[in-house]
Amino acid sequence: MAVCIAVIAKENYPLYIRSVPTENELKFHYTVHTSLDVVDEKISAMGKALVDQRELYLGLLYPTEDYKVYGYVTNSKVKFVMVVDSSNTALRDNEIRSMFRKLHNSYTDIMCNPFYNPGDCIHSRAFDNMVTSMMMQVC
């Protein structure tokens, strides 16, 4: 269902980015990169409210012709960005939310791996598998 999933560090550099293998992977990188501005905007717009309600899910960041971009930001300001095919209309907001939740849990597990240094790129088989399963699901 998802065509591209990215994890962005607090300082806005990518920790992890993966997309379905196509000829223009770069386009997804570009899409994700563009979305970061929207993420920042959303965070500052929500400002206090976000902190108070602990709502981590940012919702739809922006739609493009073919894709929809969703965002999620943890309390430590790590961002998850997911690009979804627009043609997949069956995908509900709730499902996106639970996918992000799963992503977040998986990310937490990585952080707890003693061999992972916070801030490094993510090279984890478990995380890879989880992301792959998310990309496969309803494809």
Binding site: I110, C112, N113, P114, F115, Y116, H123, R125
Partner: protein, 180 residues
């Protein structure tokens, strides 16, 4: 010979994440301090040994198990009482050697390795080697020399974690005169 009040046989609760992360921090620090994995394994074993020789006192006082008459009984106590008490798991005992001096402890899930993924450059690290040391140290204090080693590890892609224990010999104490 009772221990102080409030410290009976009941097991105390502890955050498993804290426990796992503490052990993880210990192992990664050792990996930084030593050049190669063999040295880390050795160090973990040594630390485990030092834990074991102390822990056995605590174990005997709290569990009130009696003397074991053969190695099978020892195996049962280790799996069903000791592991339960200190790690909250009950490994199963299998693969007895015909002579009855060697068996395997199968750990379905090892609380030490939650979250852990071994990086490629540490392929020969035996992450949970501390356990071997603990078992060796503890049994040495009750006059049993054993050889303990990991033969399977979920971290290395095996489906279960298997610890192999081999009885080597009884350590004969020079008992004081007049004691049995």
């Amino acid at each position: 010979m009772s221990r102080q009040a409030g410290r009976g046989t009941e097991s105390k609760k502890m955050s498993s994440e804290l426990f796992t992360l503490t052990y993880g921090a210990l192992v990664t620090q050792l990996c930084k301090d030593y050049e190669n994995d063999e040295d880390v394994n050795k160090q973990l074993d040594k630390m485990g040994y030092n834990i074991g020789v102390r822990l056995i006192e605590d174990f005997l006082a709290r569990s009130s198990v009696g003397r074991c008459h053969d190695f099978r009984e020892t195996a049962d106590v280790i799996a069903k009482v000791a592991f339960k008490m200190y790690l909250g798991i009950t490994p199963s005992i299998t693969n007895w050697s015909p002579a009855g001096d060697e068996f395997s402890l199968i750990l379905e899930n090892n609380p030490l390795v939650d979250f852990v993924e071994l990086p490629d450059n540490h392929s020969s690290l035996i992450y949970s080697n501390l356990l071997c040391g603990v078992l060796r140290g503890a049994l040495e204090m009750v006059q049993m020399a054993v050889d303990v080693k990991f033969v399977q590890d979920t971290l290395k892609g095996d489906s279960v974690t298997e610890i192999r224990m081999k009885f080597i010999r009884r350590i004969e104490d020079n008992l004081p005169v007049g004691e049995e």
